[in-house]
Each structure stands twice: as structure tokens, then as C-alpha cells.
Subunit: 191 residues, 2 copies
């Protein structure tokens, strides 16, 4: 561990956003899971949730190898329980879902505590997952294709959140609580 | 072909952007090619270019099956020739590339004629590809990960272009020339 590497880790931790997270509700292809997690790391999401619906368990543990060291992946086989915990912690749950009632994703305020929920590759968000959302957001589709790849949709939304948070100064000073900061630093320092 | 389907195709063609395109310079994983092309369709890019560098030929033809019907993929084994043709047609070539000299992608003006060039999954943009770019754009990375997945990077940039073009009213009235409009409509109508 060089001094330079440690300084780099601190710089990254100083920009982590404790009130921004992602829920993968049954996303299962490894390349998608890995792409979502790289994007989460890049915009400062400190940890990601993989939640299962009716026994479709979350993601394979191997899928998060590598980037999972930088962005811990929390597994929860029961989406109702997992979401209840996040709501109790103050998160608003926004389902990324092409629904006629969804709002244009750019109209949402991502500076609040927010968890973005992503659906399965083929089926999208299951009814059980939709039922626990506080609202839906959609990315406009101007072509013949019906949906975007899930990691693509996640990134378009997360970089809108990054843009809003940057404007609001939320990357300007450290925001993680001290215990989380030290825990993550300790985990990252392991060889 | 129902009347409804035909109306849908016309609506999509009315929003196609003749002065926005993407060059995949050696992108080769099928899931990435397909994700890039779905996003292109979704923001109104009428056709995409796959260009090779030193015999790394462009993408496998099968990769574009499906979405390739909606967004034709033009293959060109010689990137210098391919880019020269685009420049002659008035396109500015912007390399998506994490270079210290790159501009933040949000500072670029995507309402001009622009071709966004994407690099290979592992190696990024080869020197030959970089040499023909007019400028470089980078998406900010606030974490420990060094780069985004290529289809993710493409989407973040293309949806910024879509945002700017929407604001500028470029989706409000048809912009394809009549010959291209009719050619695409004819191709889409094939069973
Ligand atoms: C490939 S899509 C699933 C498509 C599925 N047929 C549906 O209708 O929901 C996988 C996930 O990506 C996200 N997604 C894809 N395109 C989206 C868009 N335009 N707006 C919001 N979310 C999108 C959603 O979370 C979706 O559940
Ligand atoms: C996985 S990256 C290649 C990484 C390679 N090691 C490099 O340094 O270029 C594949 C392609 O995605 C695009 N890309 C990925 N992250 C990007 C970012 N933050 N800004 C701009 N383009 C990016 C670039 O076109 C890049 O060539």
C-alpha cells in the first residue's frame, strides 16, 4: 500500500454518496451486473443491493468479483424485507420502468435519498417489485426498440443523478459517516 | 403490415437525426454491439459504423442481428478511409477516450454534425483511431474503476446528445432527406 494509493482511496471515499443506491431486482447476466457496478463506483454509489423475487435469487456471487471489492454487493432474497429496510433508512424507491405512468427520468430530484430499482433482462420489474416502488422513471425511447439494455438504463439515470449532485455541491466534501468511511477504507486496503 | 405499424415507423423516421452517428472502432463483444445499437435506435441515430484497425475487423455481422434491421450497420475495414468519408460529409469526429486532454462530455455541442467514436473493450482507442479524431470527450469517473463498459459510455454520451437536441427542437420535424427516409421505410417494411 503506497501513500499515493491511500490518498487515492481517500479521495474516492470523500466523494461517496451515502444517500444514493441501486437495487438490482433479479438482474442476472454477469456482464450486466458487472457493468452496473462499475457505473455505481464511477458516480460514487457506496454499495449496491441485489434482491430476489420469489426465489429468483439475486445475482450470482461471482458476477461481482473484482468491482465487488470496491462496491460491496448486499444480497437479500426477500425484496419486501430489503426494501422495507431501505425505506426505514429514508430512501425513496424509484423503479426504472417503462410504464405509461412513469415520469421522464430527468424530472426526478436525485439529490434526495434515492434507491433506483432495475428489473430483469427479459421480464423487467416483476409485479412484486413494482408494488414496493414509490414511483417510476422512464428514459425516453424515440426508436422502434422497446427497451434499453439494463446496464445502459442504469448508467443514463445514474449520470443524471451525478450531474444534479455535482451541481448541488454534494461531491465537494465528505459525506459518509465516520464508521462507514473507516470500514470501507479497511476493506479496500486488504491485499 | 398494419396501418398502425406503418404510422409507428413514420413517427420514428420523423425523429431520425441524419447528423448524429456512432463509430465502433473495434468494439467486438456481441452484447456490447447490440446494446450500443439499441441505444442508437432509441435516440434516433439512423445508422452506425463499425470500422476496423489493422485487420481487427469491425464487429461480427451476427452481432447486429435484430436491432441491425432498425439501425443499419455499415462495415468498413479501413478506419482512415471510413473517417475521411464521414469528414467529407461534414461530421466532426469525437473520440470517447479517457485522456487528460479530453473535454468533459457535457461541454461538447452535440447539435452539430457529430460522430462519436468508441474504442475496444480492453485496449480502448488504438493510436490509429485516435489519430483521426478531431477531439476527445470523457465521462467523469469519481471512483476507483478506470473505465466504464463501452455500451454504458456510449449511452451516457448519446443521451446527453438527445437532451441537447431535444432542447434545440431537432426532434420536432422530420430531418432525413427524402431518399433516405424512403429507403429506410422500405427496408423496415420487409417481412
Ligand atoms: C431490458 S429491460 C426489460 C424490458 C421488459 N420487457 C419491460 O418491459 O420492462 C431491463 C430493465 O432495464 C431498465 N430499462 C430499460 N430501458 C428503460 C427505459 N427506457 N427507462 C427506464 N428503465 C429502463 C428497467 O429497469 C428494466 O426492467
Ligand atoms: C472499457 S473502455 C477501454 C478502457 C481502456 N483501458 C482505455 O484506457 O481506453 C472501452 C471504451 O469505452 C469508452 N469509455 C469507457 N469509459 C469512458 C469514459 N469515462 N469516458 C469516455 N469514454 C469511455 C471509450 O470509447 C473506450 O475506448
Amino acid at each position: 500500500m503506497t501513500a499515493e494509493r491511500l490518498a487515492r482511496m481517500r479521495q474516492v471515499l470523500d466523494r461517496r454518496q451515502p444517500d444514493l443506491t441501486v437495487i438490482m431486482a433479479g438482474v442476472h447476466k454477469e456482464h450486466n451486473v458487472s457493468a452496473v457496478m462499475r457505473t455505481c463506483d464511477a458516480v460514487g454509489v457506496p454499495e449496491v443491493h441485489a434482491m430476489g423475487v420469489h426465489g429468483h435469487l439475486a445475482v450470482k456471487r461471482t458476477a461481482a468479483a473484482g468491482v465487488g471489492r470496491r462496491v460491496p454487493l448486499r444480497h437479500c432474497s426477500d425484496i419486501e424485507q430489503g426494501v422495507a429496510d431501505l425505506k426505514a433508512a429514508g430512501y425513496r424507491i424509484l423503479g426504472a420502468h417503462l410504464d405509461p405512468q412513469a415520469r421522464d427520468f430527468r424530472q426526478e430530484d436525485y439529490c434526495r435519498s434515492v434507491a433506483i430499482m432495475l428489473g430483469r433482462e427479459k421480464e423487467g420489474l416483476d409485479p412484486e417489485a413494482r408494488a414496493v416502488c414509490d414511483g417510476f422513471i422512464a428514459i425516453p425511447m424515440l426508436g422502434l426498440t422497446e427497451s434499453l439494455n439494463v446496464s445502459v438504463a442504469a448508467a443514463v439515470i445514474l449520470y443524471e443523478a451525478q450531474r444534479q449532485r455535482e451541481q448541488a455541491g454534494l461531491y465537494d466534501s465528505p459525506r459518509l459517516d465516520e464508521a462507514t468511511y473507516q470500514r470501507l477504507l479497511f476493506e479496500w486496503m486488504q491485499p
